[in-house]
Point group: C3
Chain length 337, copies 3
């Protein structure tokens, strides 16, 4: 795949070779994200960060990734401050904003909005999440995390046993991850959710068509016994027709240290796209697991910076130059990773 100048809109764009290329560049970015080295390869470049739906994590992660490559970030954080509220089309917004930056990351609550925007944009666009549809950088960081975590156990993604748990209907992170995993060989999926929040049929069909196993279950404890990865999700309340409808499913599936100890293998890795809901009636992933070394949820978000740096470097064609502009960090840095 030729990344130069392309939009990143959907995980469907990637084959295994493209994914591997992204992951190799992500590995290359680690000394910069860890603040051992500084590069200024994108000094003078501008990222247009267009978040028309609330976000801190993804927005800051993208911005940080661009800054770590030496570039600047110009941001919009809400739709009501934008011309879209005055009747402007995505076409116009895209034509205008793409004159202001070298690359754009966009989030919007409407499915397909980012595609529409990208078609009119004069610069490459990265999808930072369009409603329940796609969130490709999240799927890539999840897969990259799986690969890294399994590597420490001498395993790789082929033959993975993964349990997806919780709201599998509205969780776009789960959807995109499923699409990516189907590219690999012999994946064993365990889908644990209330029937009403099951993984949509189209995803199940695609997984089966690619020759992978699926077990569907309504019983958390019995279904997590033989998994390399547990991937938990919160109930995506904001996607439900009403709060009371969402509340029905709150706290149905909960993982805590006691359950983990009794039912999981000793090396089972725990992932979550975050935020996890820590309110007393939710707690799908209990904070009594915070010191469990297999809890990979913060390594996921750290990896997100690497993946986003890699995407920027590939799209803007600077992977070869990153290390040439490098110097050592000259300020105090915490041991963080």
């Amino acid at each position: 795949m030729n990344f130069i100048g392309t939009h990143i809109l959907s995980v469907s764009q990637f084959d295994r070779a493209a994914i591997e290329e992204i992951f190799v560049v992500a590995d290359q970015m680690e000394p910069y994200a860890q603040r051992q080295k500084v590069t200024r390869v994108l000094e003078g470049a501008i990222l247009g960060s267009m978040f028309f739906e609330p976000s801190t994590r993804t927005r800051v992660s993208f911005g940080c990734a661009f800054n770590l490559l030496g570039g600047e970030v110009r941001e919009t954080t809400e739709v009501k401050a934008s011309s879209i509220s005055k009747g402007e089309s995505f076409y116009d917004t895209a034509r205008v904003l793409s004159g202001y930056s070298d690359v754009i990351v966009m989030r919007h609550e409407i499915e397909g909005s980012v595609d529409e925007f990208a078609q009119a944009s004069r610069v490459p666009v990265l999808n930072g999440g369009d409603g329940t549809n796609e969130h490709p950088s999240q799927a890539l960081l999840d897969l990259y995390t799986i690969r890294k975590e399994l590597a420490t156990q001498g395993k790789n993604i082929d033959n993975l046993r993964i349990a997806l748990i919780g709201d599998l209907k509205y969780g776009r992170a789960v959807h995109s991850l499923c699409k990516l995993l189907t590219l690999y060989n012999n994946i064993h999926f365990t889908l644990i959710s209330p029937p009403e929040l099951a993984l949509p049929a189209s995803y199940i069909k695609a997984i089966k068509a690619a020759g992978h196993d699926i077990v569907e279950s309504n019983d958390l404890q019995q279904s997590i016994r033989h998994a390399d990865i547990l991937y938990l999700t919160r109930t995506q309340e904001e996607r439900f027709p009403s709060q009371s409808e969402a509340d029905k499913y709150k706290g149905l599936f909960r993982l805590n240290q006691a359950i983990y100890t009794e039912f999981c293998e000793p090396n089972t890795v725990i992932m979550h796209p975050l935020p996890r809901d820590s309110r007393i009636d939710a707690k799908e992933l209990d904070d009594d697991m915070n010191n469990n070394p297999n809890l990979a949820i913060f390594r996921q978000t750290d990896n997100g910076v690497l993946i986003r740096m890699a995407l920027f470097a590939l799209i803007l064609d600077v992977t070869d130059q990153v290390d040439k502009h490098a110097r050592n960090v000259n300020w105090y840095t915490a041991k963080r990773f």
Copy 2:
């Protein structure tokens, strides 16, 4: 005119020589805005971007312009996050914020607010729009666009035939553009609006006093026959006493490709200060014209970056240094302009 350290508050500050000076510097900025070259002339300088009224386009355009010169941007995007909501005077806000930056751009919904702010500021202030009053950088980019578009046809601003269409009462872009055009010779104005949204009498008087022609009309099709430039505007709903009052005027004057083909000259240039209202009941400028090469609306916004770079460079006295700090862009850049 000596630009160094001055506030840019109103188009009334400029004579033809000053405007020409700005336009020459804007031309100089093109390789930087087109991402052929990078300059870092303002590295270490800070722009205070104080938008106390919603804006994406103007805010990002100013920020981008400052970044392209190498400077940093610190932003405020809403009044409720500011001390003004705790009873602070513009005087105090200005005294404080001007200690944080080298230059400030400010937008506020109250007419005259930016003047009041500038009087107390310790650094140069650019008016990014104060209510229905002034928006000088918009007027400059409009005039710069007119000049550029006409130049390709071997014409210049003198003797221009321009039709201003739509809400001429509340559209500050129109007001400021009229003021600038009166500085030139023999301008033919056609004003097309509902009587209730006519250009205010003071502007008409000033145009006539400067010796230019005015024709007022309520008929779009017959009035656009002999124009070099059509300048369309949306109904400025947010300035109306009520939504229902604004709705009366929605969609009254509409330009689309069929009308253009039948009634306009083949080279008539179409401008709009944007956003255009693409909702079905508005559509003052139909998107079936998006591929018309005479549609200059996105060249306008591109030119906005050049004009804002020029203003910063002139005010901060670095025009002579810009090219000295230049190097070639080292990342992928789209063909955009």
Copy 3:
């Protein structure tokens, strides 16, 4: 005190030697804040500016301070755009966000929230204000201003006579300043407030325990006769149970030029943490004093940049390197200070 890598959460962390160290570095920062020199010592470093409560002044001041050292700023300006609104714990927010930056400044309306956040953060955290609790950089800039203002009169902080006026109950700036002043010798406090808004008993007890004088008063004019410093505050309306409750205390104590001339010593310095409430029914510090040379309120905010630069430089261990990366400013700079 070793500043490298530490959190700055409370003024209780500091002894006199630590404060003196901060003030010496703040003095060193003056040519950079005054835009005589540029340093790029933190080029490549990222400040995470996490303001979960409205703020312009403090947020921009911190961001500007970091930019002046050459670093980048990634911001969040409201809680509703954050995962906290989806039930995320401070622990999770901190673990995630601390992977994105080299240092964090945080403001949140909940007392103790910043402490909780800092415990989970993997990078140093500065408290930018947690409810009515602490706002240490404000207290430091206030004390630094007192020191600088008195120095011009040949006095120092020991033996200071200070009158604290207005809402002494909810004003966290006052609370933190009182804590710092107790570290010095022989401070004479005059506390002027309505009885219901008196300084909390715990502060009074601590001041007395440290051997300082306290006079409490309900009479502004008679109580400001022998003060080196008048420190006025606005009624912190947003902390009151209701607006009507807050309104009872509005405008009770007002200082203007006539009162100052009649009752103050000629060199009495006037301070205020800002914003001051300039609405007609409030006006605790009248704007007829704006040209009084003893009005130090804007020197306070200017000093805030110096203090915040000093804290960043100390925490990130670059004080020795700042001047090595320095060059002269190459653009127009106003005489501001």
